[in-house]
Amino acid sequence: MAEKEQEKPTVLLNLGDRVKIRHSGGLRGRIVELRGPLGPGGVQVYRVRVRRKPEPKYIELMEDQLELVAAKG
């Protein structure tokens, strides 16, 4: 049997991507840092900036909590 190729960690989202945060009541944000496989079982974690007044808010979230928002146009 052919040896299985070692699976590389998949980075689904990229720096600068606009995302919707699941289970947040419609919060949206932008990925500002790829934190790496720091979630349970090696899940990717992203630092997301959410626009808030007077200051933006940052949240570190796991990949399955984020949904890519398609660019307009």
Partner: protein, 187 residues
């Protein structure tokens, strides 16, 4: 297997620092000597060592927070994650004992690194020295007449960071196991 953060420290951060240390040693052995290059390499190494240790601590904090948040339902998870991310000292502050305590004690325990391992009191002294020199190097502060620390000093400080990283990883493993009633990662 330790936390992903410690694995990254061992397999990525330490090899990078070892290469910088080798570069410092090479610049010190140059004939004719180049004191400016030697000094700049040492300053660079000091800042990188502090930055990588800060990076490890920040990673371990994030990993611990995500593992904790994962235990609650999805709608509540975001609230926990937002609370753990907000005002994290290690995002901006040096990885000194005070800042480590400020952040890691948000998990609801007293971080007593000095008692966590017999070697830690000496390691914490090295960490304090490293952070003091990190600020001098980063802000081009006044170097005392005795000069910059030696490469041997920096080597010792790196070993101390290594020991503290393993120790902090062990502390978080035990605390998270107590809080979550299960092993956070395979020890």
């Amino acid at each position: 297997m330790p936390s992903a953060s410690l694995q990254h420290w061992v397999n990525d951060r330490v090899p990078r620092l070892t290469e910088i240390e080798a570069q410092c040693a090479t610049s010190q052995a140059l004939v004719p000597s180049n004191p400016r290059l030697r000094e700049e390499n040492l300053r660079g190494y000091i800042m990188l060592l502090s930055a990588h240790f800060q990076g490890f601590c920040r990673d371990l904090y994030t990993e611990s927070a995500q593992i904790t948040a994962f235990r609650v339902r999805a709608t509540l998870r975001i609230l926990i994650q937002a609370q753990f991310t907000a005002h994290r000292t290690l995002d901006h502050g040096n990885p000194n004992l005070q800042n480590l305590r400020k952040d890691f004690e948000r998990f609801g325990f007293t971080l007593n690194l000095a008692d966590a391992d017999p070697g830690n009191p000496a390691r914490l002294q090295h960490l304090a020295e490293l952070n003091k020199w990190r600020n001098i190097a980063a802000h081009h502060g006044t170097v005392p007449p005795a000069g910059l620390p030696s490469l041997t000093d920096l080597h010792d400080w790196r070993n101390s960071c290594n020991g503290l990283a393993a120790s902090l990883d062990g502390v978080m493993y035990n605390e998270l196991r107590r809080i979550l009633r299960r092993a956070p990662w395979v020890p």
